[in-house]
Amino acid sequence: MTTPARPAWRRAAGAVLPWLPVLLLLGTARAWWARLPDRVATHWSGFGRPDGFGSATVLLTATLAVAAVGALAATVAAYRARPATAAAWLVPAGGMLAGGATGLWLTTATATLAGGTAAEARLGWRFLWLLAGLSWGSVVLVVAGRDPAGPGAEAPAPGPGLTLAPGERAGYTTTLHSRLLIGVTAGATVLIAVAAMTATPALWPVLAVPIVAGLALGEVRLTVDRRGVRLVAGLIGLPLKRIPLAAIVSATAAEIDPMAWGGWGYRVKPGRSALILRAGPGLVLHLADGRRFAVTLDDPETPAALLNALRARITDRPA
């Protein structure tokens, strides 16, 4: 199994497609500018009269700037993003930003044009321009292609093992802490609580999100033994993941780049999943179904060697 390179035309598509909304924005601005009043409606709280207004020049400049930044980011990411897997989401994200900004321009500009003056502008169905613009990101994603495969998709030969005596029992346990995650969730909890108290009581239920995330991933216990690999949320004892030993082909220690695995936290991507609490050393499991699972921890060589030794024990045993 080898890693297919992203085809050149897909890469080019990822670099070019995010610029189409920018061209559309420039073209429509040129065509409509003479008819567009100086003051345009920029905000609606429903389908009735607008409740926010702004200068047409500011609207055009702002949306054009955002769209251009999004498109530029996508182009740079398509050719420069390291690792290449980061391009898989940076490129569509750039497309979405460019499309969204253009959609915002189209929505507000057409509403004001149709009404004649800013005060008469009606939103109507025009908000669909914005949705269409945002969904440009998905078009880019489909055409530019998903991430074909991460680095090291092929299962490597097991590294140096660990010698176990025939009747010896061995297990590895460690606790993973994520200061980043605890900090972020604590910060989010405070922010949401303050917002809920002062302005928006509807936010109270949202408070559960960072609290649950912090409880689930703030402290995780990893256990490796003859049964396989287990991850348990340490603070609440909730089992997060179980991988039976028989499903593991080999285990390796590797440097984990969160960008290559889809970010921080519990990540699931096609063909692989991971618990990423930081950048740095991690344990990568190559599974029998071709998938991979990674988890960041300080001393991945030890559990990797143990897993390979335990694995050798069950495969070497005569059937």
Binding site: R169, A170, D299, P303
Partner: protein, 117 residues
């Protein structure tokens, strides 16, 4: 950290487990404040009786290496001193070897006094 026990070895399983934790502290794999795996979990991992693990943890507590707290489990003590522990381990080896040779306690103490610079 890695735990390994061998039921075929002459050393009792609880002693083997306690030795693994001491080794972990000496090597710096276990740092003060770190939590040891819950006794029930470690018993499952090593396929030993829960009371075997509890006996090992109780001994480590008596040695001043860990604290056992209800609800928090076994935690490596803040004053767990890897250097002192290393010396204790050497003393343990010395006493074991001396016993094997049939030396009595006064003779061992005399030997220690002899090597004093």
């Amino acid at each position: 950290m890695l735990f390994r026990v061998d039921p075929a070895a002459p050393v009792p399983l609880a002693d083997q487990i306690a030795a693994q934790v001491r080794g972990g502290v000496v090597r710096g794999e276990l740092t003060p404040g770190e939590r040891l795996p819950p006794a029930r979990e470690l018993a499952g991992v090593l396929e030993v009786n829960l009371h075997t693990v509890l006996r090992a943890y109780a001994r480590l507590r008596d040695e001043g290496l860990i604290e056992l707290r209800r609800g928090r489990g076994a935690v490596v003590r803040g004053d767990a001193d890897a250097n002192r522990l290393r010396v204790v381990e050497l003393a343990r080896a010395f006493v074991g070897e001396a016993r094997r040779l049939g030396l009595a306690e006064p003779e061992m103490l005399a030997m220690i006094k002899e090597v004093k610079p």
